[in-house]
Amino acid sequence: MKVRILIVSGSIVWSATISFGQTAAWNSLALTSATPTNGPTDPLTQQFDSINFDRAPGAVPAFDALGLSPESVSSPSTPRELASDLINGVDQNGVLQHGLAFETAPFRLIGIRPSVSTYRADNLSGMICRWIYNFSVSAATSKATDKSDAVQLALGFKEVLYESAYHDPYRNPDLDNAFEQEAAKIDLPDDLDNPNKPLPSVPDSAAKIWSDAVADFNKNKWQGTIWTAAIAPTWNSPSGKLADLGNTGFTAWTTCGFGTRNLFKPDVNSDPVNVQLIAEARYREGEQVTDPNDKTHVAIQNSFLTAARLRMGTTTFNGFAEGGYVHVWHGLNGDGDGWRGALGVEKKITTNIWLVLSAGEQFGEAGAKTNNLFAVSSLRFGTADNAQFAPQ
């Protein structure tokens, strides 16, 4: 360990750079950006590079499985709208239309309406109510390649297994308080009982209390706890026809996030120490991979990936630690596994200037050639004065 620390320090001095205006996101720095210099075909490196800690737990499984970020997503809220989306997804010749993207909550679709008191309950029935309410199904199609008729289809199923009240907009206690304050400012006078009297608008002062509280909620959404699980089977149709769909495996994953403000001094608001932990486990079966240097070299691989990231810090000093483990079966290079770890710190020197140090190492097949320790340091200048590793 001592040797490793020395190497880190030396590397930092050696590789120190100054980059001006570097404000791009450095999220998952060591796991995605500062990749060791192994060949691009290394399946483990590719798996590591696919780790995305900033994939929200709310990511839509069908879109995620196909690697899509559709601009237009349909959210059918009635069976009729869902049927319309499905019909529009296939033309009269049975050819799948690419670009289909929808997500819906099936239990809401069939008219199951939650009781607020049950939904908010801190007991098993409340949890079951929220499971039912938050279960979602998604579907997406996309062209497999630009120059063929092949179409890919994914169906996604997602459940929020656990969500703390603080993370849930329907149960957030700060929003409850804001609603109370807002409600106190809204009158419901007797003249509302006259049907000829138009409904008044909500006073601006009251509406602002609520809108500000919701803005704060969105800003602090990294706080609280959420645990989700999803599975997305995928199909491919070489002709684009529905009848020719063949299964191409599935992706299943679970993600949990925990964030808290002022962990060590919960009663003190000044200079809080924020902590955020994100962990993910993902299994992909039946993924077709092609060697970019040899198009004839293909494999149908299975892979398992698990990774976690811890971020902790204050407004002037932050640190992160990330680690990931990958196992690949039947990949381009056969079976293999490996892990990657990284650490980083940043210190605010003065307004808009941060000193950033980070280092990491990859072991296993992916790092077999070098087992390089990779280190990056920089001075970060920019217009944003926020920490890049900080939870918020």
Binding site: F179, E182, D193, F217
Partner: protein, 126 residues
């Protein structure tokens, strides 16, 4: 069609019963609402039956008058909803007698996160 507010009027045929009339709001997703319910008698006198407050829908509110004694009255349920999540939101006002729905009035809002909208149901009991 979604509007900025829900403002609906309806007529409810009350069954012949000496049991009380109840009113219940049902929403499609658990947003925060506050409302009150008044009964207006044929002489236009207002009775505040259910005070303005936050209620965890669906609460069954007793109007404390029998169905037979409520004919000719008007029930007004007015309130507001503050959206914490965007999306379509349905609200239904059910008038119940003897555990059966005697009539209902409903509306839909296309809610925007962070906004507050008013609603009002005006039901004439016949």
């Amino acid at each position: 069609m979604p509007n900025d507010n829900i403002d609906k009027q309806c007529q409810v045929n009350l069954p012949s019963s000496d049991n009380n009339v109840f009113v219940q709001l049902v929403e499609s997703r658990p947003e925060r609402v506050e409302y009150r319910i008044d009964l207006v008698d044929p002489q236009q006198n207002i009775n505040h039956v259910v005070p303005k407050d936050k209620y965890q829908i669906p609460v069954l509110h007793d109007l404390k008058r029998s169905a037979n004694a409520s004919r000719g009255y008007k029930m007004v349920c007015a309130g507001f909803v503050s959206f914490s999540v965007s999306g379509s939101w349905d609200l239904e006002c059910r008038v119940m007698v003897d555990n059966n729905v005697a009539g209902k009035c409903s509306g839909t809002l296309n809610g925007t996160q962070g906004t507050t909208n008013m609603f009002r149901f005006f039901c004439e009991f016949v």
